[in-house]
């Protein structure tokens, strides 16, 4: 049924539809409204679940870890420094192969302190072993949240649903919420074979020495690689059920014969797609919306890049001293292509800087000037800096 909902409220409803057993949370802007709305649903008796208000994000992730380990469907959400404070636990959750879902309401990381949107938080924990799926609008965020529980539980891997802070979390727009029956038919109750159970004692998180550590890490890597078909299947089945796809691994939009493409993740894709229609740049351009960042879908990406002469990768975060994170990964992924496009890389919209429609033209113009292998912040205003910092 269609509703006009704030993004956070839509996510709270989606989580409730998944019937979580334990939700643990600590507030941080711009994530707060999500767990606030979940706690209201619990207080109003509309959601039967253990809601644990903890004293830090470290504890929020730890409670969720414990809950998942005992076979409960667990959820938490955070942003920015909150994600960083969770970092140690996030690595543990993945390393222990515990299925759970976390919403990252993407926000910049200080210093300087900034509450607005970019992707530096989830990028900083990209190596934690979590599946990371990025959403372009609130409908995708709702659908991806529900899919995430299924993916997590089938694979015994945690899933991070990344949605842009403020730009999505605080935007009211029309969202189609599935019915409880639909979600129940899609997402069976959680049964966890390896759960901690006093009737069947087992050890979890024991010390692993050099003789088995590599094998343990190898199996985590393998599990992430093998999650690709499950992510595709979860979206296909969702489409069968609701008529909507949340974007699979990646999707392509725009003129089929375009030789130039812009690749990006998250809500910026939504703006760039409209810009591509409204401003119709002379250089015909496709948009590649990457939804799965972990696992990184190399094969699918190579396939959609066949025939391109130019690929512009848009980052919403970067690695100081190196360059765009997504840009670097795309370059590495396409390195083996026989006829690979030239790859240009820009970061835009850091710390909430507005991304207007004309960005598409600026990207296409700047790409002409950029040397292959370089990286730049497209919308940086150098005149604000002392000459030695430019």
């Amino acid at each position: 049924m269609l509703h006009a909902l704030e993004g956070s409220q839509a996510i709270a409803q989606a989580v409730a539809l998944c019937r979580p057993g334990v939700v643990a949370a600590y507030p941080i802007t711009p994530q707060t409204h999500i767990v606030e709305n979940i706690s209201k649903l619990v207080a109003d008796g509309k959601l039967k679940c253990e809601f644990v208000s903890v004293e830090s994000e470290f504890s929020a992730a730890s409670v969720a870890l414990g809950a998942a380990a005992t076979g409960s469907r667990a959820y938490t959400a955070s942003s920015s420094q909150g994600i960083l404070l969770m970092a140690e636990v996030l690595f543990n959750i993945a390393g222990l192969r515990l299925p759970m879902v976390l919403t990252c309401a993407n926000r910049a990381i200080g210093a300087p302190i900034n509450i607005w949107n970019d992707h530096q938080d989830s990028m900083t924990v990209r190596d934690s072993g979590w599946i990371q799926l990025f959403c372009a609008d609130n409908q995708e965020a709702v659908d991806t949240t529900i899919q995430a529980f299924r993916i997590a539980e089938r694979l015994e891997l945690p899933v991070m649903v990344c949605m842009d802070g403020f730009v999505l979390t605080h935007t009211l727009e029309v969202v189609d919420l599935p019915s409880a029956e639909q979600v129940d038919s899609y997402l069976p109750p959680f049964t966890f074979a390896n759960k901690l159970d006093p009737r069947r004692p087992l050890s979890l998180g024991t010390l692993v020495g050099p003789e088995y550590y590599s094998e343990s890490r190898h199996s985590l890597h393998r599990a992430l690689q093998k999650s690709i078909p499950e992510i595709v299947a979860a979206d296909k089945d969702w489409k069968k059920l609701t008529g909507r796809s949340a974007g699979g691994l990646l999707t392509v939009e725009g003129p089929k014969d375009a030789k130039t493409a812009i690749l990006a993740m998250g809500s910026v894709v939504s703006t760039l797609c409209e810009a591509n229609e409204v401003l119709a740049p002379k250089r015909k351009t496709k948009l590649i919306k990457l939804r799965a960042f972990r696992p990184f879908p190399v094969e699918a990406l190579v396939q959609v890049c066949e025939g391109l002469t130019e690929l512009i990768v848009v980052d919403r975060a970067f690695s100081p001293g190196q360059g765009g994170i997504l840009g670097t990964e795309v370059r590495s992924a396409l390195a083996g292509m026989k006829k690979k496009p030239t790859i240009k890389n820009f970061a835009i919209g850091l710390g909430g800087r507005d991304i207007p429609l004309e960005t598409i033209t600026h990207l296409l113009d700047a790409a002409k000037e950029q040397e292959e292998g370089d990286f730049a912040i497209l919308d940086v205003e150098l005149n604000k800096l002392p000459p030695e910092d430019r």
């Binding site: 269609l2 006009a4 509450i115 403020f166 730009v167 029309v174 910026v268 939504s270 703006t271 207007p356």
Partner: protein, 191 residues
């Protein structure tokens, strides 16, 4: 697509105003988008929110830089640079101010419609929250959607006495501004 920018001060229900306007459009089967541009949220600080209303899905997520309409919840914001910036030619400005529209327009050398929103809110709601009064007036001026749509949106958000008082306010204050004055602008933006 109709684009609206709402300026107010923290605590005036600026975001709620944006959400209500978008929700009212949704009640009439339109597509909508509303979002705030928060500074660090605190009472009294200037805040901005944006609304888009269209007949098909809205995909752009940038701020509204060239609105067809401005709703100003606090007349003192008119002194802040940039508040009136980007208004489309022929666009409408609705201001919460106790003066007459003529006096206000003369004072700022720009055509504006004034509504004593704070006074009306005090009278009807017992609270100086001008947002719903301004929205009711805005719908009278533009006729984007009928007042009943705003009432429906209010019903989803409030209950009890607060709701009853707001519904009465919406019903009774429409005539205070000229009906359909900005209909042409709204229709042109829609097309």
């Amino acid at each position: 697509m109709i684009e609206i920018r709402i300026h107010g001060r923290g605590g005036q229900g600026n975001v709620v105003a944006a959400y209500l306007l978008a929700s009212a459009a949704f009640e009439e089967g339109r597509r909508c988008q509303a979002f705030p541009n928060f500074g660090a949220e605190r009472r009294g600080a200037p805040v901005v929110a944006f609304v888009r209303i269209a007949d098909k899905a809205i995909r752009r997520r940038c701020q509204v830089r060239e609105p067809s309409f401005l709703i100003i919840q606090d007349a003192s914001l008119l002194h802040i640079p940039g508040v009136l910036e980007g208004l489309k030619k022929g666009g409408g400005i609705l201001v919460n101010a106790p003066q007459s529209s003529e006096d206000l327009s003369k004072e700022y050398k720009q055509t504006m419609v004034a509504l004593p929103g704070t006074q009306l809110a005090n009278e009807y709601l017992g609270k100086p929250m001008p947002n719903v009064a301004l929205l009711a007036a805005f719908l009278t001026l533009t006729e984007i959607v009928p007042h009943t749509a705003l009432s429906k949106a209010l019903t989803h958000r409030f209950k009890g006495e607060v709701l009853a008082k707001n519904l009465k306010l919406v019903e009774e204050i429409g005539h205070r501004v000229p009906a359909g004055l900005w209909k042409g602008v709204a229709d042109a933006a829609r097309a």
